[in-house]
Every structure is written in C-alpha cells, then in structure tokens.
C-alpha cells in the first residue's frame, strides 16, 4: 500500500490513494460526476469525455475516469467551463444520435437520455447528423437487435465482448465520421461468433443494443382462448425482477412474481427449477457413467472433463471456439429446453391437453436462451419445445403494461406438476450452483451419505472469482460405486467466457485434470445474465447471489433427488435417468461451428 496523497476537490481536502482516479475519489467523497463510457465491469476508455473536470493550473480539462490523482492536485468539478463543456459534449452526442426517444425500447432506462434531462439540452443549434448517415438496424439475430443510429460509440459493448467474454464479436470499424461498432465483415450478429449472451445489451448505455422482444406474441397467445399458455421461470429471475419494479437490489420476489404471472393470464405458472432438479439427475448420472467408462472400462469415447451444458451462451461459444471438445459437453439439454420438451409431452399427457394447443413460454435472465429455443434440434416433443423466451426485463414490461402494482401483490405459489423445486435447483442461478447441486446429489447417490459440508453449503465452489477449483474425495462408496473409492473428484467452476477460455486452455495444455467443470457464459452466472435488469455491476451481482443462497437456505428440500415431482416423473414417465425417454426428450447434440 503506497502512501496517501493529499488533493482537494472543490476546495475541500482529501487524503487519498495515489492509484485512484479523480472519478473514484470524487465518487467516494459523494461528488457525482456524469459518465457514459465508464463502467465498473470494464477497463477505462476515456473516450466519451463527459466526465471532464478542471485541474487548477491546466488549460485543458481532464477526463476524471482516466486521470490518476497526484499530490496537491486541485480539482474543480462544477465550474462554468466544466458545465459548458459537458453540455456541449452531450449536445454533440445527441446530434449524432437518433434521439427519437419515445420510439426507443430503452426509453426511460437510457443513460444519454438521463444526462440530456439533467443538463436540459433544449437547443436545436447543432446540425442533425443522423440523417446524413446510412444507419442500419440488424434484426437477424433471434436474441439481439443492433441499431447503429442509437449508438454513442462509447465502446462499452466492445470492451464487454473482449474483456468479459473474450469473444470479440463486436469491434470498432472505420475511422472519423464513419467510425462505428461492427462485426466481422459487417455481417449480421446472427452470422458471426456472437454467443447471444447479451452482455453487450446489459452494458449498453442507450438503445443501440437491445434484446429482441416477444412481448406482443406472448400477449396474443394469452388472449387466445384456444391456447393453453404455460410459463416457466428460471431461478435467477426471482432475484432480479424486483429491481425493475423499484424494489431494492437483492430482494427475493418469488411469491410476487408467481402472483404477477397468474394475473397476467398464464394458464399455469411453473418453475424451470423443476427441470433444474431433473438436470441434476440426468447430468449426475451421466457424470458417474462417464467416470465409470473412463476409469474402469478405459473407454476412449468417454471424454473427461465433462462440461455442463446449461448455459446456451457457453454452448455457442464452445461450438465456435473449441468444436473439437464438443464430446466433453454433457448431452443434457438446458433446464429450459428439458422443460419445453416435457411441457408438450408429459405435462400435456398428464393434464389431458392437446400439445398443439399448448404455448410454452419461458422467462429467462438470458438472451442466449432465445437463440437456443430456435435451434432445429429443440423439437423433440414433435413441436417447437419452447415457443417464446422472455427476458426478466420483458416480463417487467408486461407486468407494468398490465397495471399490476407489483409491490403490493400477495405472494403465491407455483402451480403443481413441474412447479416443485429444491434449493439445489434455485442455486442454478448463481455461478457454482450447478456444481454444488450436482455434488449434493452425486455424492449421496454414490456414498449414501450427505456431502460433508456444513448445512450442505459447498463453500469452495461459491463466490465470484473467475475460476474456482474444488475437489472432494469419495470414501466408503456403496458397493455398486466401489470403483470410486478413494477417488479425488476434481471440479472447476468458471463464469464469464473469458474465464471459460482459461479453463479450456488449461485442459487443452494438460495443465489441469478436472473431472467435472461448470461453465456459465455470464459474469456471476445466470443472475448476471444478459436478460437481467440494467444496470449490472459487481456489487449488484453479489447482492443477487446472496439472495439466491438465501432462497436455497429457506427451502424445505435442498437436494434435487428429493424433489417429489422429480421422483414422480421418473416413476410415471421417464422411468430412469439416462433412460430411453430421457434420451429422446432431455438430451441433445451439438453443432461444430467456425469462427469466421
């Protein structure tokens, strides 16, 4: 720790760390400086220039986000020169921006709009540049819409795609007045390495990158009396939705969310957590089978480590970047798609419904799930397994449109048949959750005893470090698993694709010998997904994670294999994990893709 230095802001002295920037110091001191290109998740760019401040003794203003403090620096954040410059910069951005705010999806949640309101940009002086440019809107991706006319070139999306995800689907192209954010050869987002993770959407300050919304389609289905519309909700939605409703970050709103969905008119409100539990049964069995094949039978086709397959952003990533490793992926569908396949088979049969009349909607913290639902292989029920995928944000829009006072809603419970879940399923929403859930079940299946962790909380796989490793030694297994006696099961957890890459490279270079690896495309796991409320940052994700683990702790059932509806579906319909029906409905295959 280096020595503190003394600086002054607006005449008040502060002792600060010399590594800190003017912006950080000012924020700590409660002084607000407007920003646009700055984001806590990303490296400093210093390109929007809206955060400029005056440093006494310098003619030029300093970009506070990019300027480190030095001893005896005198900073002024509210002078005429500073205000006029900031106002000018906002005016410049607006002149280049399609400021047709009322027709923008992000109306009301736009950082540029907020600044324009704050600085009261009323003048019509500057020339509108929007008309001079041949802006295009890329609508071909089923997940993401890219509208260049609303782009302010802050490059947050570019840095997100590079730094958080290591995908680099978005990059800067051209220079000067032609400078824009584009893709490889300016292809559609649908035709490049984009994983549809939606992190760019989460980090975009304006409406330049938004999810493709299916709100009207869902409303239409709900109003159609012929249709039986069911909805499933992913675990991370219940710890994010509240933010959109003006409720404090990190609040669990499960009961109110269910009540709202019922009010919206869904015929049955069900839980993706049910298929998360099912995933554990299938994936856990798959892991144990693989281990046996690899360790006992020496079957070269049994590839280890086994990677989880719940995150469709990760699936698209590995298909593009490591197609040679597709055999290492678990063949399990994601919980969303397992649910979809069962909705039009098991659910339809049990409820005596014509599957053709069922509209299967899912609410996900995710934009990649939209793409996933379009995959040609996701029709195992004989129909499209999941018809519409909404993000947490889209659900919030529907709730508001329906005139529901969310805060005052009484709590309700999920409907039965595919609505029951365990705590193990809930933690799917946080990074490390699938691993923890799988270990809780697999360890018990193998040894007949609970995992040796206090309150079943497997602390080593929790947390927000990009890559986490854990191992668990299997002792005194049941007879049929005796080959695992003394085996140290090595696991790893990674979240954010840039961390996935680290794991993949380590495995490729034989620097790691994991058996089982959980990978989630988004930082923090699904709770930080591309479909979650905006803004996102490390603190927000920490608080959502805390809420998820609370939800788990309060659940009466904590282990997937104890979910009574899971037990029932194996008894009545699937018969056994990895069985014939499971194979048809719950498992899938992958498609090698190219990078270019």
């Amino acid at each position: 720790m280096s020595k503190k230095i003394s600086i002054s802001i607006n005449g008040i002295s502060y002792e600060v760390d010399p590594e800190k920037t003017i912006l950080e110091v000012a924020n700590d001191a409660g002084i607000i400086i407007p920003t646009l290109c700055y984001h806590k998740d990303l490296c400093v760019a210093g390109n929007c220039r809206v955060c400029v401040v005056e440093v006494v003794g310098q003619t030029r203003l300093a970009a506070s986000c990019a300027t480190p403090c030095h001893d005896n620096m005198e900073i002024l954040t509210n002078t005429l020169k500073v205000r006029n410059s900031r106002k000018h910069i906002i005016e410049l951005l607006l002149s280049e921006h399609n400021a047709d705010c009322t027709k923008c999806y992000k109306n009301g949640n736009c950082e540029l709009q907020e600044l324009a309101a704050e600085y009261k940009i009323m003048s019509q002086d500057l020339i509108e540049l929007v008309n001079h440019k041949n802006y295009t809107i890329d609508m071909y991706s089923p997940s993401i819409i890219k509208d260049d006319s609303r782009c302010i070139r802050c490059q947050r999306c570019v840095r997100t795609c590079a730094e958080l995800q290591g995908v680099n689907a978005l990059a800067v192209a051209y220079k000067g007045d032609h400078m824009k954010i584009s893709t490889f050869f300016e292809k559609s987002m649908n035709d490049v390495v984009c994983t549809n993770c939606g992190q760019c959407v989460n980090h975009c300050p304006t409406g330049a990158l938004i999810e493709k919304n299916y709100i009207e389609e869902v409303w239409e289905a709900i109003s159609d009396p012929e249709k039986h519309v069911i909805v499933q909700t992913a675990p991370a939605v219940r710890v994010g939705l509240g933010e959109e409703m003006g409720i404090e970050v990190g609040t669990r709103v499960t009961g109110r969310m269910v009540a709202a969905l019922k009010n919206l008119g869904f015929d049955s409100v069900l839980d993706t957590d049910f298929t998360a539990d099912l995933t554990i049964m299938e994936e856990g069995t798959e892991l144990l089978t693989r281990l046996k094949k690899a360790l006992v039978d020496n079957d070269p086709k049994a590839k280890l480590p086994m990677y989880t397959s719940c995150s469709p952003g990760w699936i698209k990533y590995i298909e593009h970047m490591y197609p040679e490793s597709l055999d290492n992926l678990s063949t399990c569908k994601s919980p969303q798609q397992m649910f979809g396949a069962l909705a039009k088979t098991y659910y339809a049969k049990s409820r005596k419904l014509d599957p053709e009349k069922i509209v299967s909607v899912s609410v996900m913290p995710c934009t990649a799930k939209k793409f996933e639902s379009y995959r040609p292989e996701m029709h195992d029920s004989g129909y499209r397994d999941v018809d519409y995928v909404l993000t947490t944000r889209e659900l919030a829009i529907m709730i508001k449109q329906a005139g529901i006072d969310f805060k005052k809603l009484p709590e309700k419970k999920f409907d039965r048949l595919m609505g029951e879940s365990s705590g193990a399923a809930v933690i799917f929403g946080a990074t490390g959750g699938v691993m923890e859930a799988a270990l809780r079940t697999a360890y018990e299946l193998v040894t007949g005893r609970e995992v040796p962790f206090e309150n079943l909380n497997i602390a080593p796989v929790r947390g927000m470090d990009g890559v986490r490793e854990a191992s668990i030694t299997i002792e005194k297994p049941l007879e049929q698993w005796s080959f695992l006696d003394g085996v140290e099961l090595k696991c790893a957890v990674a979240h954010g694709l840039v961390n996935a890459k680290k794991v993949m490279e380590a495995v490729k270079n034989h620097e790691a010998d994991y058996h089982f690896v959980e990978i989630m495309a988004c930082p923090g796991g699904c709770l930080g997904g591309g479909g979650q409320p905006i803004p996102t940052n490390p603190e927000i994700r920490e608080r959502r994670a805390k809420a998820i683990y609370e939800e788990d702790a309060f659940m009466p059932i904590r282990k997937s294999h104890q979910n009574p509806e899971v037990i029932k579906i194996y008894k009545d319909f699937l018969h056994k994990p990895m069985g014939e029906k499971s194979h048809k409905l719950l498992h899938t295959h992958y498609t090698p893709r190219k990078r270019y």
């Binding site: 030029r60 020169k81 000018h88 910069i89 410049l92 280049e96 540049l129 070139r153």
Partner: protein
C-alpha cells in the same frame, strides 16, 4: 515593440558528412549523464510538433526501470504540407540512425523501430540497406542495438505517439490516455523514447558539434534550426533549414509571390496568420513576440489573394473529419459539426452568428478532446474564421 530577426539560412541537416561511424563510436564512449546534460543544455525541442524538450525525454526514459526499453523514430509524416522527414530519410538516413543508437545507449534500449508512413513505402528498401550497414557497424564496435522498420497503413492519427504504439502492437490506431507517458509505459508497456525524424537528425548535429553550436542559433525558448516545408503560392517551394525566431514578414519577403494574403503555419492543425499580422508574428516555440507556436513540424503554406479561405478551411475540416480516429466525442462529432456548420453558413441555411457558436464548440474541443488532433482543430478554425469571417459568409 517586436524584435525582428532576419531570415538566417543554415546547413546542418543535409550537409553531406560521412563521419557517422566516428560520431557514434566517439559518443558511446562518453558518460551517459554527460550526454544527457549536453542535450538538455542545447535546449533542443521536439521537431514533430509538440515541442517537448528532447533532453528531458531521454533523461526520463533513462531513469525508468525496466527489463526492456525501446527507441522509436516517428516517420509517420502525415501533416498536410510537411515533407521534410521523407527528405531526411532519403538523403541522410545515417544521422537519424546514429541519433537512435545514441538514444538507445543513453536510455538503455537495445531495440529501435522506425514507424514509416505507409505512403513512404518506396523509401523502405534503401532504408533497410542503411539499417543493415548501421547494424553491421554497431556489431563491429560491440554495441548491442538493432533497428526494425514498421510500416504504417496511412492513418494520420497514427502519427500521434500513443496511437502509433497501439498500431505497432497490432491494435487500432487510437490514442491512449495519458498519463502514463511513453517514457514510463510506451510500446508494449515498456519505457519508450519516441522522437520525430528531424529531432533525431538534430541530435546528431549536437553530438557532433556540441550543444553550444546549436544553442547559439535561434532565439530564447527556440534554439537551433528547423526544417521548413514551404508550399502553396510561392515561386520556390521546397525544404529549407532556417534558424528559429524569424519574423513571418521576413519569411514572406523571401518566399512569397508578392501577393501573399495569409500563411498557414504548422499545417492543418496549425494557425493561419493573415497579412496584417506578418510583422508581429515570429516563428518559434511559445514565449516570443506573439507567441505563435509550431504545432507541427514546420509546414508553411502560403496563400495569395486568389485563394478562398473558405475553401482552405473546408479542405482542412474535411481532412480532420476523415482522419479523426473517431473514439472521442468532441473530435469525432465536433469535426463533422464544424464542417457541416461552415457549409450551412455559406449556403445561408444558418445565420452568420452560427460561426460564433462553432467557435465556442472548437473551444470545447480544445479543452476536452483526448489527443492533440481534436485539441488542435480549434487552431486553424478559429484563426481562419476570426480573420476571414466575411469569406466564410459571402
């Protein structure tokens, strides 16, 4: 009362000297600190435009602690109206290479690069020949120093030192935030001295003839000589080595065609000086007379009364609009607004008073743009609009 200096021609840079080997080996025997002091006392300032004291730059790099350091010769000569570096590299490449070598010795860098402007590809073969001869001699005298050429691709912004380094590292040529400065974290994050071609050639003169000889030329704050690229309405365009501190009137008397209306000093990013101010403008770094600085490497463009200053400005703005890297708001959008703005005034779509709003805008650009490009657009804009306002309107 303004002091006047008559135009004084000098002949150091292009003087044909075949003693670079002697100068190099002789200088490398000297104490580094002594050499830094020599360079500092010459008061040589960077000839690329910004005018940073060269001795101080080398000193900072020599004091930086790192396992690897670099010397870069900035030969991305792109300022409109500047063409002297091309000539230096063609005629006297060994002076530049020797300057780089000595800089490497002083700063502790064993690797040098020449960032050669994309359009100067035709210089590459000859330059490589010179480099291999130079490296051969270095090996002979047991001096560990190598030089590679890195070809630019034609972007003006890559002449900006940090954009140049980004470009060399394989990234988009976009200026970095400063600090950190290149002497601490430059190419590949290592301490780097980056100097203009001409600056390095001048260091040869200084190490050969001593700092005093250089210091005695020019005037206070603007010591030594400078190459000027003279173009436009002149009977004798070309490259001239002149002592700094001359009055612009003397310059025009020498190079004008008798009808000089204005001179653009320092290229598109420099200032336009109208006839009425020739007598009170001296050419040198800040502090003398009217304090016109040389924002770039000595481009002198003369315009006679047949020229429309609107067209001149229009041309410069067109250039900046295209050559801005586009990353920062004031420069990217500002340049577009200025260009469309003067056109709108000219065509009567905006009132003349709009020019004042644009002048305010250039002020914001000057205060807030990320790098020298955006900051200096104000120079030509305000000096042209303020002095030739009527030409902008009618």
């Amino acid at each position: 009362m303004a002091e006047h200096y008559n135009l004084k021609r000098a002949d150091f840079i292009f003087r044909n000297e075949n003693d670079w080997e002697k100068i190099l080996s002789r200088t490398l025997e000297k104490d580094k600190q002594e050499l830094i002091n020599e360079l500092i006392s010459s008061e040589l300032k960077g000839r690329g435009g910004a005018g940073f004291p060269t001795g101080l730059k080398w000193k900072l790099a020599s004091e930086a602690v790192a396992d690897q350091k670099y010397v870069i010769c900035n030969a991305d000569e792109g300022e409109p109206g500047t063409f002297k570096d091309r000539e230096i590299l063609t005629k006297v490449p060994f002076k530049v290479l020797t300057g780089m070598g000595i800089c490497g010795y002083i700063s502790g860098a064993s690797q040098g690069y020449i960032y050669l402007r994309g359009e100067y590809k035709f210089l590459k073969a000859d330059l490589e020949k010179a480099i291999s001869e130079f490296e051969y001699y270095c090996k002979e005298i047991n001096f560990d120093f190598n030089i590679k050429i890195f070809m630019g691709s034609g972007a003006y912004i890559c002449g900006e030192e940090t954009a140049l380094m980004e470009s060399m590292e394989g990234f988009r040529g976009e200026p970095r935030n400063k600090p950190p400065f290149p002497t601490n974290q430059g190419y590949m994050g290592k301490p780097t001295v980056i100097n203009n071609v001409e600056t390095l050639a001048h260091t040869f003169t200084i190490f050969k003839h001593g700092a005093k000889k250089f210091y005695d030329l020019g005037v206070q704050f603007s010591r030594g000589t400078k190459l000027f690229s003279v173009s436009g309405d002149t009977p004798k365009p070309g490259i001239y080595e002149l002592e700094l501190g001359m009055s612009l009137q003397d310059f025009v008397d020498e190079f004008g065609d008798g009808d000089t209306k204005a001179v653009q000093v320092g290229g598109a990013s420099g200032f336009l000086v109208p006839r009425k101010r020739f007598g009170v403008t001296s050419i040198g770094f800040k502090g003398k007379l009217t304090g016109i600085s040389l924002p770039t490497g000595g481009s002198m463009m003369l315009f006679n009364s047949t020229r429309s200053m609107f067209n001149v400005l229009d041309n410069y703005l067109e250039f900046f609009r295209e050559e801005s890297c586009g990353q920062c708001t004031p420069c990217r959008v500002g340049c577009q607004q200025l260009l469309l703005g003067i056109k709108a005034v000219k065509q009567g779509q905006k009132q003349a008073a709009y020019l004042d709003k644009l002048l305010k805008l250039t002020e914001t650009m000057q205060y807030t743009a990320k790098c020298g490009l955006g900051q200096s657009v104000a120079n030509s804009f305000s000096s042209i609009v303020e002095n030739f306002r009527e030409e902008m309107i009618y």
